[in-house]
Structures are given as structure tokens and as C-alpha cells.
């Protein structure tokens, strides 16, 4: 500014000073405004910084989490890492992982792990929560919705009920894995008392982004875990199968081989080498054609085998013999099965069974069978002969037995029953007639003055008379009548189904016939006859006694007469 002149300010200078002052004031004001803007900008900068740092921290921790998740397929580890991130990265108070266990077709989600519950009772209570797969709460998840948010502004009853169970006044449900299956569920949130100290649950971009990033990462990890488990299971099953196969392969008594279509062995077990006569699989030739040559399969067989391998035609039950190196002949049964990889032949599996023993056994069996047949035939002939002899013997014996029986029952002179047999028969007849109340009569006769005949004409003549008389009676009686020589010249005739009258008539006929017959050399012969009928009270003895008494009466009354035991009948007058 201009200075003073002579102790006072020049008016021009004063004006300049005022202008300058005004300019400075304006400049000052501009600066002040700029400073105010800078301060405001600085304030905004600090705000953005905080947000940026918070985001960076979250992303760094998410990155670290991603790194950890990539190192494991173990579900417990996955969830543990996730819990750490949820608590310290996303800064929620509590988190629960539910897992669906598909090993037994359960339809529930059960708590697998949780954090943020420091009261033992609370933790235990929450640990037992089960969510049914069909719970309406989960419907949005199965419809493809990634998350469900609940806070104080929500009035959904089911979500409120869940809120009470999990002890969170605000929470987000996130489904993990494919929405078709949803193998796991995450619920993260805060309790009413402590919510102000944690990340609040709402629909803000930050919250959704945070939980969304985690959810994506976890879904992938959970899917990987499931795939890994399936792969582990498959590998384990494959291992078991391989071990089983290896066990079968190595320990089988059957020969197992694998070949390429050109006949190269890719594997061969001990049994196969042994059957073919090689000390070990390693000592076997590489090509089946070489084996065929060494063991003299023959050109035809060799060609058939090679053709089968080349074309992939399975060989079924091909039995053939070959000669081992030791010169012994062996029989094998060979089967193949072709394995395809698409349209190409991958390999051919072959089974070699040593059937030499079987064949030998079969031959031996056949021989034994033939021998047996011969022996059987011979034996059969022998038996037939023996049987024939036996039959003859049996017939002879039967004849003899009949004869003996006859002799034991028949009077040899008259050929009628003897006394012993009569008693046997009369006992039966009496019993039968008494039971069935049938008439039964008895005729007893003896030859009059027989002793005189014997004395006069000799025993031979006497025998002749006895024979003739009994012969005549035998001829006139029925088959059912029982005629026996009672003793000496006494004869007895039992007449079933014959009453006293009928017996009397028969008795008279017998007497008449005897009387009329001309006995050569003996003259006239008469008989005395007694007739009796079986009474209701009679026994055999009394029955015979009655007839005997009637005979006696006939004898007393002069012989040559018939007397009946009961007096009703017309007895002949006394002679």
C-alpha cells in the first residue's frame, strides 16, 4: 500500500488501500470457504476410509476363509472356519449350521455346530433344534431364494417361532448347496440384548453382500464336501472291490487271466500258471499263441482261441486237453468274457478250470459203473437161479406141509377127518352156531357087530368095510358137513344149518344106504345111529354126549336103527 505524505494518507492511496483491503477480505472469505469445503471433504474422506477399511477387512477375511476352505473337504472344518469368519469377519453374535444327513433318508436338518451361545443351558437347548425338510420356513429356499431375513419388522409367525427357538431376535437364513437338495443351512444373527454390538441384520446392501459372499463360498465348499464324500465312498468301495478282486484273483483255485484282443496277457493269477504247468505267472509267455504252441493245443484250437479274442466273441465252456511241459496230459474248461470301452474291446477276461481230475474221476466212475452193471447182471442171474430153486423148494415144502397137515388131520384109512381134527372143527362150529343162533346137528354112528367082522373076516376085511362105509357117507354129504372117524368103527358127522329133523332124515338115509350095500366078502353091514341137535345150553362135550347117548339108545334098542336125542321125532320102532 502507498505510504503517508507529510504525515497524512494520500486520498488516492487511501482508496487503493481500501480496494486492497476489500480484495484481501474477499480472498480471505474465499479461502475460508475453501477451508470449510476441505474440512467437509476431509470428514467425508474419513467416513469413506472407515467403510473402505471395514470392507477390506471383510474381503481379506473372506479371502483367508476361501484359502482355508480350499484346504479341506471335512465338513466340521468347513463349518469351523465359517463360524470364525461369521463371528469375527461379518461380526454376527451367533451362528448355527444345520446339516441334513442323507445316510438314512432322514427328512430333517439337525444342528451340526454353533457358536455364540455361552450359557450352557441355552447352548444345549439350541443344539437340539430340528427343522423338518417340509417346514414352511424353508419353502423360499427350496424355491431358489438364497436367503431369508428376519428382524423386528417382520411379522411372519413361523419366523417368529424360530426366533424364539434359536434365541435370535434378528437373523438371516442361508441355504447352502443346490436349492434342489439343500444339504445344509446357515442361520446367523443376534440376540435382542446384544444386537447393538454386532452387525445388524437387515436388507442393506452391505449385509446382503456380506452374507451372500459367504453363502456362495460355503455352498461351493459344502458341494465339494458332498462330492468328496461320494468320491471317498466310491474310492473306498473301489478299494474294497479291488481288494476283494485281488483276493479272489490271487487266491482263486480257478485260473484267471486277462488278455488283449491280440492275445497278450495283461494279468494272470497263480492258479492259471499252475494249471498250465508254469512255475509262476511271471514265467509264462507273453502271448497266448506261445502258450498254445508250448502246450500243444493244436492248430485248430489255437486258431479258434485267437479268433475269439480278436473278434470279441465270448468262448463258453470250451473243454480241451493239452500236454504240460512235464508230459502229462491235462484237461481244462475255458470261458472268456469281453469287456468293451464304448465300441472298442478294452480287454478279455478268461477263466481256466482244471477239469483233469474231474475227467479222470468221470472215467473212473464210468468204469465203476460198467463193472457194477456186470456184477449186477451176474448177481441178478444168480438170484434168479437161486429164486427158482427156492421156489421149487417152497413148492416141495408146501406139498410136504400139506401132506403133513393132511396126515395130522386125516384118518389114513378112511381119509376122513380124524378125531383130533373133528374136535377142532366142532368147537368152531358150535361157537359159530351159538353166536349166530343157527341150527347144528350131530349124527354119530358105529358099525354093528364090527368086532365079529374083524374076528371072522380079518382086519383087512374090517378095514374095507370101514373104508366103503365112510366112502359112501362122504359121497352123500355136503361140503359144509364135517365127517370124521371118531374112533375104531365109530364115525361122527356134524351138519351145520341142519336142524334135528334134517339130521334125522340124513341119518336114516345113511343107515339105509349102508344096509342096502353089498360089502364084498362081508355080507350085510348095519349101523346104529344117534342124532342130536345143539341146544342152547350145550357145550361141545354135552352136544357130543347127547349124540352118543342117542347112539347108545340105538344099540340098546337092537341096533340098525336111528335114535334121536330128543323124543319128538319119529323114532324107529325097536327091532
Amino acid at each position: 500500500m502507498s505510504g503517508h505524505r507529510n504525515g497524512s494518507l494520500d486520498p488516492k492511496d487511501e482508496i487503493n488501500n481500501l480496494i486492497e483491503l476489500e480484495r484481501l477480505r474477499e480472498e480471505n472469505e474465499t479461502l475460508a470457504q475453501q477451508i470449510k469445503q476441505l474440512v467437509k471433504a476431509e470428514s467425508r474422506l474419513y467416513t469413506y476410509q472407515q467403510e473402505l477399511d471395514a470392507q477390506l477387512k471383510e474381503y481379506k477375511e473372506l479371502y483367508d476363509l476361501s484359502g482355508k476352505l480350499n484346504t479341506t473337504f471335512d465338513i466340521q472344518s468347513i463349518f469351523d472356519y465359517a463360524l470364525e469368519y461369521i463371528m469375527h469377519g461379518l461380526e454376527y453374535e451367533r451362528a448355527i449350521f444345520f446339516l441334513r444327513d442323507d445316510t438314512d433318508d432322514t427328512k430333517e436338518y439337525r444342528v451340526y455346530t454353533l457358536d455364540g451361545y455361552y450359557d450352557t443351558d441355552e447352548k444345549e437347548k439350541v443344539s437340539k433344534i430340528v427343522i423338518n425338510v417340509r417346514d414352511p420356513i424353508l419353502n423360499p429356499c427350496f424355491d431358489g431364494c438364497e436367503h431369508i431375513i428376519f428382524n423386528q419388522e417382520n411379522d411372519n409367525k413361523e419366523l417368529i417361532a424360530l426366533s424364539d427357538k434359536i434365541l435370535m431376535s434378528e437373523y438371516v437364513i442361508y441355504s447352502l448347496g443346490s436349492h434342489l437338495q439343500i444339504p445344509a443351512i446357515l442361520i446367523a444373527g443376534n440376540s435382542f440384548e446384544n444386537a447393538e454390538f454386532f452387525q445388524r441384520v437387515n436388507e442393506s446392501v452391505d449385509v446382503l453382500l456380506g452374507i451372500g459372499n459367504l453363502g456362495e463360498l460355503l455352498s461351493s465348499a459344502v458341494s465339494n464336501h458332498i462330492s468328496f464324500k461320494m468320491m471317498e465312498k466310491a474310492l473306498w468301495q473301489e478299494k474294497i472291490a479291488k481288494a476283494k478282486y485281488r483276493g479272489i484273483f490271487e487266491n482263486a483255485s480257478e485260473g484267471i487271466i486277462q488278455l488283449t484282443p491280440d492275445g497278450t496277457f495283461t494279468s494272470c493269477n497263480e492258479a492259471a500258471a499252475d494249471i498250465l504247468g508254469y512255475p509262476s505267472p511271471e514265467k509264462m509267455p507273453r502271448q497266448i499263441s506261445e502258450v498254445a504252441s508250448e502246450l500243444q493245443f493244436g492248430d485248430k484250437l489255437t486258431s479258434r482261441l485267437l479268433e475269439g479274442l480278436r473278434t470279441g466273441t465270448d468262448i463258453k465252456d470250451l473243454e480241451f486237453d493239452f500236454t504240460k511241459k512235464n508230459g502229462n496230459k491235462h484237461w481244462v474248461l475255458f470261458n472268456t468274457r469281453t469287456i468293451y470301452n464304448g465300441d472298442e474291446i478294452a480287454s478279455i477276461d478268461g477263466i481256466i478250470l482244471d477239469v483233469s481230475e474231474r475227467n479222470e474221476a468221470r472215467e473212473a466212475l464210468q468204469r465203476a459203473h460198467d463193472e457194477l452193471e456186470i456184477r449186477v447182471r451176474e448177481r441178478t442171474d444168480e438170484l434168479a437161479k437161486a429164486n427158482s430153486l427156492l421156489m421149487d423148494e417152497i413148492l416141495e415144502r408146501t406139498r410136504i406141509e400139506d401132506k403133513l397137515r393132511e396126515l395130522s388131520e386125516i384118518d389114513p384109512l378112511t381119509m376122513v377127518y380124524n378125531r383130533r381134527k373133528f374136535f377142532e372143527l366142532v368147537t368152531l362150529e358150535v361157537a359159530k352156531c351159538k353166536r349166530y343162533e343157527r341150527p347144528l346137528s350131530l349124527i354119530m354112528y358105529d358099525l354093528d357087530n364090527f368086532k365079529k367082522i374083524n374076528d371072522k373076516l380079518g382086519h383087512q376085511a374090517g378095514d374095507s368095510v370101514l373104508k366103503t362105509t365112510s366112502g359112501m357117507v362122504s359121497a352123500m354129504i355136503r361140503k359144509v358137513d364135517i365127517f370124521a372117524r371118531y374112533g375104531g368103527d365109530e364115525f361122527i358127522l356134524l351138519c351145520p344149518e341142519t336142524g334135528l329133523s334134517g339130521a334125522h332124515t340124513l341119518a336114516k338115509r345113511i343107515k339105509g344106504l349102508t344096509e342096502k350095500h353089498n360089502y364084498l366078502g362081508s355080507g350085510k353091514v348095519t349101523i346104529s345111529v344117534g342124532v342130536a341137535e345143539l341146544g342152547a345150553q350145550d357145550t361141545v362135550d354135552t352136544f357130543i354126549e347127547k349124540a352118543d347117548k342117542a347112539l347108545y339108545t340105538a344099540k340098546k334098542k337092537g341096533r340098525n336103527r336111528v335114535e334121536v336125542a330128543d323124543a319128538d321125532l319119529d323114532a324107529e320102532p325097536a327091532a
Binding site: 477451508i35 470449510k36 474440512v39 467437509k40 476410509q49 455361552y118 454390538f197
Partner: protein, 409 residues
Amino acid sequence: MGTVAGVGYSTHRNPAVAGREAASKALKQAGIDVPDFVMVFATVGYNQQALIKSIREATSEAPLSGCSGEGVITHNTGDETNFGVSVMVIKSDDMRFEHEYIEDISQKSDMAGKDLADSIKPYLSSDNIACFIFADGLVFNSNPFMEAFEKTIEKPLPIFGGLAADNWASEKTYQYHNDMVFSEGISCVLMSGRGNVAWGINHGCVPVGTKRTITKSKDNVIYEFDGIPALTALRDYSDDDWETQWNKTSLNLCLGFKTPESFKEDYEDHIIRYMIRKDDSAGSVQIQSEVHDGDELWIVRRDKELIRNGMQQISRQIKSKIGSTKPKFIMHIECVGRGKVVFREHEKMDLISSLQKDMGEDIPWIGFYSFGEIGPIAKSNCFHNFTAVVVAVYEAESSEECLDTETAA
């Protein structure tokens, strides 16, 4: 044995686990089983009672003091999350730690000062080293408290400490005394014996705009400066959401008052005051010390570069006192306005780590982010905002050295 100390830290969400973990680590670092004294700073996400209970159990019920902070500070750590706890354990043949507390200080800061001073009077002796106080930052008024306190104890005694904070909710802070957890109170520790303190204090704030003059005020409430309502003047420096985002606004701007001549040499040009509360209807703001009409003030802002330089200055201040002596432990009270609200996370960690490296990396280090800081400037006990107060406690080599402490008049 001398004096051994150890600091442990935990961010476990379970208060029982966190307390036990931090205490165990502290005991392990100190190499002791049973401490003589325990200091605890923790953030407010925890169930405070459960936290203190577990610390007490882990430290064999040793005497305990401390408070809640917006964050906790320890070695290579400046944790401003809702779940952080740092525990320091001390065992000493040379030093004693007596502790007291008072409750219900709201609107009664002068009475609080007198009552607290009365409670520690029995422990006053010639070998008192320093007094640490941790007061509820939502209700504390420094001037009446300090006046009453100093008047009652009747002896010069350097006072260090900080105002308990919460997580910006401004709802509740906590103070700890043995098993007790309370609010609207003060927890106090009197350190005595063969020991000494060296400290550094710096704020790193710079004025924006010209000097203002308070034209209407009452106690610690400023209604107008330069004839216009305080809030109106501040509006120009704030975004449109300033009314609803007062926390953000009041962080970015604070008020600077001319440093008294008596300690201007040992300090920066301005003492900083944080505007803890506003009244929209009255257009007023409230700070944590008393003002009068005619007081000059500046609207100030934090400057990152100045803050970094200030930390180096703190290191120099301490080292100039202790030389090569290694401190037994260091307490670090940092304003909430110097943490994540101004620095990127890595910048903040660099700030803390640089200071710790400067001082010595293996020194037990404990602190918290507070709503206000207390530390002497020259011979006067002062209240600060947007400031770092770093106190190094070391063993005196002689009894003379014990007495050779810059104490408040």
C-alpha cells in the same frame, strides 16, 4: 524381584473366556502366578460383570481397577471393535498400588473431586508417584473435579488417566473396582513407592479459520460465539447430515482453547476440547471443561501429519526423562478421535507400532481409546481431548529421583 508387569489381550466373544485368556497371557508375560495389582480396559460389547468376574478368578482376586473404552491398546494392537479386553498384572516389591472408587458423579463433579480425594487421603505419603483416574466420560466435568480434588489432597500429585468410553452410542460407560462394575463413577489408583513416571502428551490438531470469542456460556456449555449460536457457526464446516450425524461432525471438528501461558512452553498452542453433546433447540454445544464468556477459541481439526509428528514428540519427551532406563510398563490413553475415525487401519497400527518400537518393543503396554485424556502439562494437571497421553512407569534408582518428578502445583 523389583517390579514385573505383563499385559494380555483377547478378542474372544465369550466374556468368561476373554477375561481368562487375557489375564492368563498377562500372568505368563509377567512370569508370575499371583499379581499385586490388576488393570483392565475393555470394550462395551461384553457382559462387563461376567468379564470382570473371570479376570478376578484368573488373577486370584488381586485388587483391580480400570474402565471401558471405545477400543483397547496393547502391543502392536489398537483394537476398536466391540469385543476387546486388555489386562495388565503387576507384582512389585518397590511400588504399592492403592485403589478407591466413587459413584454417582453426574452433575456433581466438584463433590466427586472432594470425595475421591478424601478416599485416597489415608494413602497419601511422601513416596506417592502418581494418581490414575478413570471416570465416566458421559458425565465428567474436568474443571470442578480437578479443583476440588487438588484442593482436598493438598499436595502436588500428577494425575493421569482417561474418560471411560463406549462404542459411540454414548449410552453407557463402565468403571471397574475389584468385583464391581458401575457407571457414572470414577475408579482411581494411587501408585506409590520406589518409582517414577515420565510422560508425553500431544494432540496434533490445528485450527481452521480465525479466532472466535465465546459470547454466551454457562459452566461447560457454549451457547454462542461471536454472537451467533455455536451450532450455526459449526454448520458451515459440516455436511448436510450434521444434525443427525453429530458423532461424525463432532469428531471432525473440535474446539481449541489457548494454552495457558504457564505451560505453553511444554505444550502446543491450543488445548483441545471435544464437543460431547449438542442442544439443537438452544444451538449450544457441551464440552468437558468449564468456559467463560470472553474465552477465545478456535475451531480445530485433526491433522494426520501433526499427529504422527506428535507421537514422535511423545517418545522424545519420555526418553528425555528416563534416558536408557527401561520402563516397567507404559500406559497409553488415546482419544477416540485419533483412531479408526481418522486413520486407515494400517496407518493407525503404524502409529502405535512406531511409538512402541521407539520406546522398546518388549515393554508391557496397556491403554484404551477414551472420551477424554488426563495428563499434566508442566506442573498443572490438565484435561485433554483428541490427545494421546503416554505414561512410562520406571523404577527410581535413588530416593532423590523419586522426589524429582514434575508434579502439579
